[in-house]
Symmetry: C2
Subunit: 557 residues, 2 copies
């Protein structure tokens, strides 16, 4: 087949109209490039689901064309799907060193490391993959080593920003490469994909340095132990904690698996500089005066099994929060986590701790990793794209991002808001919407990937609300007489022992129904079951206004 060098497609398999499971695809001629491979957490309606990853059936149908997966940075919503996707499609991965380090520990856990092709790049790398040239530009965000990606096509450049802010005073000196962005813009950008997380937020996101200053101040004021909880992946913030601890001669204890893991990876790769002897084990802390210990821990999102939550309810085995200790929650709750974080703060206050929490000017213990409106406008102004597709955000964010693009002069007709699976077709230097590829949520539940469907979820929903009532009757094959039962078993409905009268009534209802069915000479199994279900269901709803799942089990012997 002849390669159509002037035709390409850009689309999302995850990440638009949602926060999470980012996966964008560039298909140009016979070359397919994947950008990022994230996961997201299910909302509360998806009972029992552990994780959601993108549907890649389109990629599988063209697996021989898939050349590379480029990963912009090491956050879960950009790398969390990799182990699951790699099992289905083993594609070479390209990422910066820290990102690669975090992917590696994930693949190790899943036993996939040996078979994977991991390729380190840096912001200056230029790759020739398939028929395209791929290059990068340095950005910054709440994890080090972030890049944007540029695909040079015969029609012009396709640029993907990754996640970014413009922190012009970054703690780690990884400055956003304004000059490179300007030069990409000058050379002409056909299509820009830019992230929209903070498109609703006016102004300019403060520098991470602000948090460092506040941490230092809090460290100077504390006279007992300090516990600080933040996202483990925010390596720059961890560095600032280390620096503050060094200034007041505190040792550091790490609590929580991901904290230990990220520190290990970041330290090994040189992204985190911790003086020798500063890290100590929890047991060693007990030998030190309270004012010589700082604890860095996971759980800033209120995760019930993470270190902070267990410290707050006194169930952390190796360490406890004492009255007078300082606890800093250096994070904003992600929507949906507000209540669990609040519960932790309540518990910490009840222990007598001094708690510093809340974002914004009041405490300054957290700043966003995403650029606000002025920064999004800055990116758009630098790139001067001919076409613009806002990505990485829910619809209202994409919508606000569109308004920002219009404000800086992008032609409104050249702004395309897409859903997952919508194809942006590039031809002769023009972009237009057209067609769709399969896309959607694939549920991970335990070891199962994609085996939980709507029927199962609907059943879980019903079971969760009112439980189940099982009625077992065995009937004689000969004459339909009852050989045993009815036996009534219930779980999650009412506690049988406390509701003997109700159970007797159900029993009587079953017997009466079976008698009626017999009189009417109805013997079809499914009709009998349905009748029992309806009769018991109406009875219980009238009595209790509850709708347990009703499961008649008839056994013929």
């Amino acid at each position: 087949m002849h390669r159509l060098a002037n035709k390409g497609y850009v689309f999302a398999l995850g990440g638009v109209n949602e926060i999470g499971k980012n996966m964008y695809v560039i298909e140009y001629g016979e070359d397919i490039f994947i950008i990022d491979c994230g996961s997201k957490f299910p909302d509360e309606s998806l009972l029992g689901i552990d994780l959601i990853i993108p549907d890649i059936s389109y990629l599988l149908s063209k697996r021989e064309n898939v050349r590379a997966m480029i990963v912009t940075h090491g956050h879960e919503d950009h790398i969390g799907g990799i182990p699951y996707i790699l099992k289905q499609l083993n594609v070479p991965i390209y990422a910066t060193r820290l990102t690669l380090g975090l992917i590696e520990s994930k693949l190790k856990e899943h036993g996939l490391l040996a078979d994977s092709s991991l390729n380190a790049i840096d912001a200056d790398s230029v790759l020739e993959i398939g028929q395209l040239q791929v290059s990068f530009f340095r950005t910054n965000h709440s994890i080090p080593d972030c890049v944007g990606v540029v695909f040079d096509t015969p029609q012009g450049a396709i640029v993907h920003t990754g996640d970014f802010k413009f922190d012009l005073t970054p703690e780690n000196k990884q400055y956003p490469d304004l000059h490179r962005m300007a030069s990409i813009g000058s050379n002409g950008v056909l299509l820009l994909l830019s992230e929209s997380t903070n498109a609703e937020r006016p102004g300019f996101t403060p520098s991470e340095r602000l948090v460092g200053e506040q941490i230092e101040k809090a460290f100077k004021h504390a006279d007992q132990r300090i516990f600080l909880s933040t996202f483990a992946s925010n390596v720059n913030r961890l560095q600032q904690v280390v620096n503050a601890a060094a200034k007041v001669s505190r040792k550091i204890v790490l609590l929580g698996r991901s904290m230990v893991n990220v520190v290990e990876v970041a330290q090994a790769l040189g992204y985190l500089d911790i003086p020798d002897g500063m890290l100590i084990e929890p047991e060693e802390a007990s030998g030190l005066p309270l004012n010589q210990v700082a604890v860095l821990c996971t759980g800033s999102q209120g995760e019930p099994m993470a270190a902070l939550s267990r410290l707050a309810n006194g169930s952390y085995r190796q360490m406890e929060v004492l009255a007078g200790d300082t606890v800093i929650v250096a994070a904003s709750p992600i929507p949906g986590n507000e209540k669990s974080v609040a519960r932790i703060i309540d518990n910490l206050y009840q222990l007598g701790a001094k708690v510093i929490y809340g974002s914004g000017a009041s405490t300054g213990m957290h700043v966003s990793g995403h650029g606000s409106q002025e920064e999004l406008k800055l990116m758009l102004s630098l790139m001067k794209p001919n076409y613009f597709v806002p990505i990485h955000g829910e619809y209202r964010m994409l919508h606000q991002h569109r308004l920002l693009a219009e404000a800086v002069g992008v032609d409104p007709k050249h702004i395309l808001i897409v859903g997952n699976g919508d194809l942006v077709e590039l031809e002769d230097g023009d972009a237009s919407l057209g067609g769709k590829v399969p896309s959607g949520d694939v549920f991970v539940d335990g070891l199962g990937i994609g085996d939980i469907g709507n029927v199962v979820l609907r059943d879980r929903k019903q079971l969760s609300g009112d439980g189940i009532l099982i009625v077992v009757v065995s009937l004689s094959k000969k004459d339909g007489s009852i050989l045993s039962g009815p036996d009534i078993i219930s779980r999650g409905f009412v506690y049988v022992r406390d509701n003997e009268l109700l159970i007797e009534q159900i029993n009587a209802k079953v017997l009466a129904t079976l008698q009626e069915l017999k009189s009417a000479e109805i013997k079809q199994w499914n009709v009998m079951k349905r009748t029992l279900k309806d009769e018991i269901g109406s009875f219980l709803f009238a009595q209790l206004k509850r709708r347990p799942m009703i499961m008649p089990i008839l056994i013929e012997i």
Copy 2:
């Protein structure tokens, strides 16, 4: 028994260390007074529970002493428990007219109105109930007709603020009665109970009038239909919508049961002034130009069955949102509702609506009904209490309220933070903590009150996560041979038809286990069931990392 005129108790049966289900109790000698009787919504872990109300077993044990229930205002967290509590304890209710009107429609719904004793008071009423004098003072909040309560005891006054802000420019001219508060303070307050909702928020909450101005502005700018969603009970805001609509000659459509109900009650009692002919039915709206219709609807908290949510997803039968319509969400999401509200806004944008949402300076479409730190300090300064108990809030709010009280000069040793059930003992003009009465959450599920316990909730939790797997086998009474089965039925676990191999494996596992049990001559029913449960459970966890509820049903015939 002789009455101890110089001894009393004050305690909460709901409302401290939580937001919701407010119920405070004053017990003085042989007189018991209840203040408020709220409900709260369960958090997501309480599967299937509809509502939570306070445990009143202490009150029931002293039912002959309970003299009155005084209700400070008509919000659900202060009146929602009344129908359930009244069924157990029929106590005379005292409240202002609007509050009483809202209680009435609740009691009507529950068929309790005829037997209830409802007594209207106003801010100037002075009641002699039992041995105490009870009087009131006008406050304001996000519903009209709010009062604080004063109990005059021989030891001094006990004051309960109710919910309040200091809106000095109230739309309805119900000014907070500063002079009365000052005079109560001058006469000496033994104990103040003051609400803590916004104790974490610096500054002074803006006047509701601000919202009115923004609504008017939005109404002037809209050129198609306007949909405005807010709390139905915020009658002042409804009035401001009516005023804005009148200015631009729009008719008003009401959507949602509670909106229709509150408007009816408030209008009948004279709290809401709607020009004749302004209210129209949804059907009439279709005959009018788009710019002559404003719709007031429920659902500002993202409730999935309420009007706004159904309008946003296009499933509202009588009305639809068109591209170009303006939708105003005049409310802040209560913690826990952020995601559902955001989903609605996404859907509205996708319909092409202009959406105005978000609180604070950016839109000004919502202000809190609760006083911020400066107002809490103002209340404390007016009342100059000898003892202070912060109420109505989670622990961190009570804690912050304590700091505010210290800052305005309340003796730190005279500030008592209590939990529900903790007794504050008043004797000889001194207050101290001592003793406890039963308190807790009573769950309402359908028509059942308090019949759902931990076992049932734990089962619902397990069922919701991984579903249930039922194994039915009938065995011969004679020789233990299998007469029928094993039959495998599952719900919420995996879809049986798509997992034939797994079902076969489970079948084999059951047969093998039964065979082993037989060889070992084990015949005890419970041992056999437990063994089957363990064997199948381990097998499924090894295969799938899932833990469905496993229910072996053995039938002996």
